[in-house]
């Protein structure tokens, strides 16, 4: 055969490869109605929380708007819904969004196109984790806006220490990376079972395992090594140390889940 000398193969570097993967994932994210629906859902959650915030039988659940964003103190042992229902809810809904986002890759068969051209499975995991983290950060922002709107509408106080509030919001936003990596990992494991992916994401997103452990060990700061623990730790009494702990925890679990996800994906067949 002639013309074989015309064939040239250029080896793309990591940044070129990951740029392509980011391009695909962000293109999909911005062209998926589901993303915008979840942004709206995140904005509506605070209003839903407030509509049920009369009393919990003990007293009024919220007295301050920022309590919808984060609890007053890092309470791992949940006593009332008011201590539980804050910006952490975004991570539950975010898990469902990630499951749908990744599930469609497999359902549509597009994953075959990705894995044919992108031999490195780590590219896929890194890109998915970061794209979904971005989507969760956006959900945190719309949640914040929804909370402010709901607070204004309900006439709650806005008084708080600004530094602590910013540290709490920043801490929770940083946790998005860890959570998205966990959900990406779960979706890699259950990639052929869409329903199980969603159920497992929801299960871990609620932090029920940590809440269960906390019920035994009490409000123990050691629980901060887990995603839910650090997410709870980012509260209205946060400091810069809280942000640092959230950062370390989020990055640590992101690396763990990305490495595990890459190993699993590299050993599994794609159907």
């Amino acid at each position: 055969m002639t013309g074989t000398q015309e064939l040239k193969f250029v080896s793309p570097g990591f940044f070129q490869r990951i740029k392509g993967m980011f391009g695909v994932d962000f293109y999909r994210l911005f062209h998926t109605p589901m993303y915008y629906i979840f942004l709206v859902v995140a904005a509506v959650i605070p209003a839903m929380i407030l509509s049920n915030s009369g009393t919990d039988g003990v007293g009024q659940l919220y007295t301050n708007t920022w309590q919808i964003i984060a609890a007053d103190a890092p309470l791992y042992v949940v006593g009332s819904i008011g201590e539980y229902a804050n910006m952490n809810m975004v991570f539950i809904f975010g898990g469902i969004m990630v499951s749908i986002f990744i599930g469609h890759d497999y359902k549509s068969g597009y994953v075959k196109q990705i894995f044919t051209t992108h031999a490195k499975k780590q590219d896929y995991i890194i890109s998915k984790s970061i794209t979904c983290a971005f989507a969760m950060v956006c959900m945190c922002v719309t949640y914040l806006l929804g909370a402010v709107g709901a607070g204004l509408f309900s006439g709650f106080s806005f008084e708080t220490e600004t530094g602590s509030l910013l540290c709490a919001i920043l801490g929770k936003i940083i946790m998005s990376l860890g959570w998205s990596s966990l959900y990406t990992f779960l979706n890699i494991i259950f990639r052929r079972y869409f329903g199980v992916s969603i159920a497992s994401s929801f299960f871990f997103g609620t932090g029920i395992l940590i809440i269960g452990v906390a019920a035994i060990v009490g409000n123990n700061a050691a629980l901060n090594i887990f995603l839910y623990g650090s997410s709870v730790f980012a509260c209205l009494s946060s400091t810069i140390l809280t942000v640092l702990i959230c950062f370390v925890c989020s990055v640590f679990w992101a690396v763990i889940y990305n490495v595990l996800g890459t190993i699993i994906l590299s050993k599994c067949d794609v159907y």
């Binding site: 064939l7 391009g23 293109y27 469609h104 044919t116 051209t117 050993k267 159907y271």
Partner: protein, 301 residues
């Protein structure tokens, strides 16, 4: 240099052996027709080439490089089972997504080019889910053609195509393989169509490569026969069977005489025995018949 060189490829799915030491050589610039019955290992082989499933053993080289090399993989276009498009996206958006995936710089121009190739320019704004099966196959081919691939792996791409779609497919494949710029592996059960475009063939059975040959070798390997029609079919068959080693009666009442040197010889022989031949022609058996004969031969062993 070969586009694909596979040696002793093995793959198991649980207890089932899907590939049992399969060898395959696809020269650069060829259109390689991969033929075999359902479950013979065609799709498994193609998926392994694409890196979608992992082999148990053996070696796969693409353009003299290991098949896992990222530089080679970036130049593979695929249509495996379904195009892999998002149902709610438009045709354009699906192609744009793949263009982004491949890092194509002038993506819009490239999409227009491939849509023109498969004659789908007018359907760019259609939602993928609203396209017919044939249109979806053509979109899948357009997707595979994005980025000027060096290797196309197509699994049953002709399924669902109408006559016009098949013609377009033939034109596209013949054009892109011209000059050795692209090599194609295509599996199909529609052997009549495959015969029109393939330059090389590989016949797979039970996870093994039964036979590899060029189109020229198939041409030489296919036996010629004389087909004839007569009103006295049964008597003619009995007479011809005495003189020729293989005489077959077809469903359309045709008699096929194999190993006959000249059709005149048959006409004369029958005429001398009082049988008039109403129509006669010399032909070769098709790829499909060749394949069926080969399978029968293997089964009888």
């Amino acid at each position: 240099m070969n586009a694909i060189e596979i040696r002793n490829l093995t793959k198991n799915f649980g207890d089932k052996q899907a590939l049992v030491g399969l060898n395959m050589t696809v020269p650069v610039g060829s259109i390689y027709g991969l033929i075999g019955e359902n479950g013979s290992g065609k799709s498994t082989t193609e998926k392994i080439i694409c890196g979608l499933i992992h082999p148990f053993g053996g070696s796969i080289r693409l353009f003299d490089k290991d098949y896992t090399d990222i530089d080679v993989r970036a130049k593979i276009g695929i249509l495996i089972e379904a195009p892999g498009c998002f149902a709610n996206y438009s045709v354009w958006n699906n192609l744009m997504l793949q263009a982004v995936n491949l890092g194509i710089k002038s993506a819009e121009q490239e999409i227009v080019r491939v849509l023109k190739m498969v004659r789908m320019e007018g359907a760019a704004s259609n939602k993928y889910k609203n396209c017919s099966l044939g249109m979806k196959q053509r979109i899948g081919i357009a997707m595979a053609l994005l980025g000027d691939p060096a290797l196309l792996v197509l699994d049953e791409p002709i399924n669902g195509l109408d006559a016009d779609g098949m013609r377009i497919m033939r034109e596209v494949l013949v054009n892109i393989t011209g000059g050795g710029r692209c090599s194609v592996v295509i599996s199909s059960h529609i052997l009549g169509e495959l015969e029109k475009i393939a330059t090389h063939y590989g016949i797979v059975r039970g996870g093994k490569m039964l036979k590899e040959m060029t189109a020229g070798e198939l041409e030489h390997g296919c036996r010629t026969y004389v087909a004839l029609w007569t009103k006295e079919k049964d008597r003619a068959k009995a007479l011809l069977s005495c003189k020729y080693s293989q005489v077959e009666e077809e469903e359309d009442n045709t008699l096929r005489v194999f190993d006959a040197k000249e059709s005149e010889e048959i006409v004369t022989y029958l005429y001398e025995n009082g049988i008039l031949v109403s129509e006669i022609k010399t032909d070769k058996i098709s790829l499909e018949e060749y394949y069926i004969d080969l399978m029968k031969e293997k089964e009888s062993r």
